[in-house]
Amino acid sequence: MSRYILKRLLSAIPVLLLVSIAAFVLIQLVPGDAAAIIAGPDASNDEVEFVRRQLGLDRPWPLRLQDWIFGLAQGDLGYSYILNRPVTEAILERLPVTLSLAGLSIIFATVLGVALGVLAAVFHRSWIDALAMTVALFGVSVPNFWFGLIAILIFAVGLGWFPPGGYVSPTESFTGWLSAMALPALTLGTASMGQISRFSRSVMLEQLGQDYVRTARAKGLGQGNVIGRHALKNAMIPILTVIGISFSLTMAGAIIVESVFSLNGLGRLMLHGIQRRDYPVLQGGMLVIAFSFVIINLLVDILYSWLDPRVRYD
């Protein structure tokens, strides 16, 4: 088992490396004088030259790539001359907001998505199936930023149940945090919920037709035990992959949903980075999101081995 995890850890390294290079290449694509852009619109000539030397933009690209990778290995994502602080520091400050948002929406999407998918499969071709799949189709079809705005209009402005935006730290007030995150998490998780429930349904349908399900019934086990334990544990193995993919969807979607709900997270930091052409921040943010995706996939693979003994012992 530990050997399997080690193998997965090692195989993640080339992907991380490629991702890092991709983020590096991205900045090389910026048209015009990168030093002038990164120094900011108000920088003097001397300042631009200083930035150029600092960033090593006067040096050949293989050396710069090398610096970038070595910097990354030490957690250094570069320096933002527009924010006037290290990118790592700026991102770490914003990360809790984005992680709260992404985490809560994935929990929402998983719980509701798997529940709907299982119900739809168990009551295949009944009105429950139709209703669950309609909800799922709505989830994958609705634009989240619009859904968020409408949710604010109805639940925050109209009914006053939740605040229309802003972040509350859970250490400050846990209920305040939950209340502040409710609408954003719902908005961000809706698409993943739809994806997960559509997928769960087809996986569950397949599992319910398996021989071992008939065996479980032949043993005299109840419906809950047969579906909830025997079939669901098998179904969760492929469903986990989709949850992992949904997480990446969620991290990217956070950029948009944070903007809708005025949450000062990583997404909004990056959005400002785009608007102010703060490329180091943008590059750092992209990298953090891509890394988180690789790490989530790694976690998914480890969970696999926990759920599926065939993986564990191979």
Binding site: Q210, D211, Y212, R214, T215, A216, R217, A218, K219, G220, L221, G222, N225, H230, K233, N234, I237, L307, D308, P309, R310, Y313
Partner: protein, 330 residues
């Protein structure tokens, strides 16, 4: 005569396709005495597996029990509510399926899957269930049971997996064990071991066994009575020890010819021409008529009923009276 353990009469199971319904199992009657061994023989499509599922209330949704009665220890199972059937399944009647590779849940240990039956039907502690599971593993001949109970299905051979299935089936000391093609997916040598094991366990525990298979010699060796099925109907029921000599139905004789051909390894295997017609094409008269070498005009018209031939021996053929002569002539 003693009260039978299981008394099935006029059992009819229909496959529903839209508004149509076709009798997949058509008016079947048989009985099993306590501790008895009944063998059921038929090709795939003969409806033999459907009987097993009907007896345990596990018929798929597209199948429907149309008529007939199932008396198990005097109780009418065809009327039993689902909750009652659940109590009976795994405790009083248990099943062993064909493919142990897929019949076991791949993500749970084999030991857990056995102890689960115990914990479902008998309110016992996890520890006691574990001990009983180890004992059951030993009983079905799994070596080092203390260790093997933590094995997953994929870590076991096909024969071992089928032993686990049998342990699972016998866990609650049922009165009736239904084994549906328990050896078909296994190697020839393992097949024999499993049948021997079933026979030994049957004598040891006194459980009645209904062995379902397409393999007539295997069934005849194991069972006391053999019921031959064709396209959802009983062709013949005969005592196992005399069936090879006394078989009267043309279909049974065809099966015997095939089996003997296999044994002696003649260069040209005798076969029964054609195959079981699909349910939608069941003919109105005798369903075997189209493949029967002795079929006459009347066979296409009327359905043959079961005729007594000897003690414990019945057959459903319109031309029974001609059968012995025909056989001598050819």
């Amino acid at each position: 005569m003693a009260e039978p353990l299981l008394d099935v009469s006029d059992l009819t199971i229909a496959l529903k396709i839209g508004a149509r319904s076709i009798n997949i199992v058509d008016g079947i009657s048989f009985r099993i005495d306590p501790g008895g061994r009944l063998g059921v023989v038929g090709e795939s499509g003969s409806g033999k597996s459907m009987i097993a599922l009907a007896l345990t209330g596990l018929l798929p949704n597209v199948m429907q029990l149309v008529s007939g009665s199932i008396r198990f220890q005097g109780e009418a199972l065809e009327l039993a509510p689902p909750a009652r059937m659940r109590q009976i399944r795994g405790r009083d009647i248990s099943l062993v399926f064909q493919e142990p590779a897929t019949a076991l849940n791949p993500v749970f240990t084999t030991g857990r899957q056995v102890s689960e039956v115990l914990r479902e039907h008998e309110k016992i502690s996890a520890r006691e269930a574990r001990n009983r599971t180890i004992e059951l593993f030993r009983q079905v001949g799994i070596p080092a049971p203390e260790r093997r109970i933590s094995d997953y299905p994929h870590q076991m051979s096909g024969g071992m997996r089928q032993r686990v299935m049998i342990a699972m089936a016998l866990a609650c000391r049922p009165r009736l064990l239904i084994a549906d093609e328990p050896t078909t997916a296994l190697d020839a040598t393992i097949q024999e071991q499993i049948i021997d094991l079933l026979a030994a366990l049957q004598e040891e525990t006194g459980v009645a066994v209904m062995l379902i298979s397409h393999d007539l010699p295997l069934v005849a060796e194991f069972a006391e009575q053999v019921m031959v099925m064709y396209a959802g109907r009983v062709a013949e029921i005969a005592p196992a020890d005399t069936i090879f000599e006394a078989a009267m139905h043309p279909y049974t004789r065809g099966l015997i010819a095939c089996a003997i051909g296999l044994e002696t390894g003649t260069s040209r295997l005798p076969t029964i021409e054609g195959q079981v017609p699909p349910p939608l094409q069941f003919p109105p008269g005798c369903r075997f008529a189209s493949r029967c070498p002795h079929a006459a005009a009347q066979c296409a018209q009327s359905v043959p009923g079961l005729q007594p031939i000897g003690p414990q021996h019945v057959a459903a053929c319109l031309r029974l009276d001609q059968m012995t002569k025909l056989e001598v002539a050819s």
